[in-house]
């Protein structure tokens, strides 16, 4: 999901609404592309917390890619996201997802640790 412009008091409510139908779908990885998100306020953070919580409840993960400096600064101030879930670029995220997929493949081929 790509976020653009400002995630503030107003647009956070819109994001919550847009995510609603998504929660009915089966998936275990939610990626927020923040390349074009220039601003986030506490109401926007709240929406991201809710999304992370919902993903956690379904044993899934939430990742953030291409966070811009102004948004990263706010993330850092409030420790809004797990450091390990932030990726500087789509290429970095792809490399991570590839390694996850390799592990999953290994586990299905009999590694008891990943079964």
């Amino acid at each position: 999901m790509s976020l653009e412009g400002r995630l503030d008091n107003e647009s956070a409510a819109q994001l919550d609404q847009q995510l609603l139908p998504l929660w009915l779908e089966p998936f275990d990885l939610l990626v927020f592309n923040l390349a074009r998100l220039a601003y986030i306020s506490s109401m926007g953070l709240r929406s991201l917390f809710v999304a992370q919580k919902k993903m956690q409840e379904r044993q899934g993960r939430t990742l953030f890619v291409d966070t811009q400096p102004a948004v990263q600064k706010v993330f850092d101030i409030v420790a809004a996201v797990d450091v390990g879930s932030v990726f500087a670029s789509a290429a970095e995220l792809d490399a991570y997802l590839d390694s996850m997929q390799r592990r999953a493949t290994q586990s299905s081929s009999g590694d008891p640790e990943w079964a």
């Binding site: 503030d8 506490s42 400096p69």
Partner: protein, 155 residues
């Protein structure tokens, strides 16, 4: 440079007030980074007032006064809502994992972190919150344009 804005306490007025404030700060020469941080500070203050302070709707339920001087900006926000001192509010628990957080207290924490100074007083039935932040002009921080001088001319 000064700006003065009056709000009735209607949440729908907040985006317009933030736009006006940002235009004023832009005209005052602030960098894009400082503009964003001031907008965020103001949004957190106003959202808190409207959603938690519940000021009675009137012509001047909230009054914002901005002053640009030297290398800094001072913003004073007065409101007629319930007394609330954000300087004394308990900090949020930042150690809990993100998926266990509810987002409470983040606005005040952002205000405290982004402002250089934050002062609160309650006078004449009004909360008065003053925020200060050093915000040099963008043109200064990028280095001032020098007039071209042909010093390399061998003649």
């Amino acid at each position: 440079m000064v700006i003065s804005l009056r709000l009735t306490g209607d949440p729908a007025e907040i985006p317009g007030a933030l736009d006006a404030l940002e235009s004023w700060l832009g005209a005052a020469g602030l960098s894009a980074e400082d503009l964003g941080e001031w907008r965020l500070l103001a949004e957190e203050v106003l959202t808190n007032i409207v959603h938690h302070g519940s000021p009675p709707r009137c012509d001047e339920a909230i009054r914002i006064d901005g002053l640009r001087s030297g290398d800094g900006v001072e913003l004073r926000v007065a409101d007629r809502g319930r007394p609330f001192d954000p300087c004394a509010a308990a900090p949020p628990d930042l150690s809990a994992p993100p998926e266990e957080r509810c987002g409470g207290g983040l606005g005040v924490h952002l205000m405290r972190s982004l402002a250089d100074e934050m002062a609160y007083a309650y006078r004449d039935g009004r909360n008065i919150l003053t925020l200060r932040k050093s915000s040099p002009s963008a043109s200064c921080s990028q280095g001032q344009a020098q007039p071209e001088v042909a010093t390399d001319d061998p003649l």
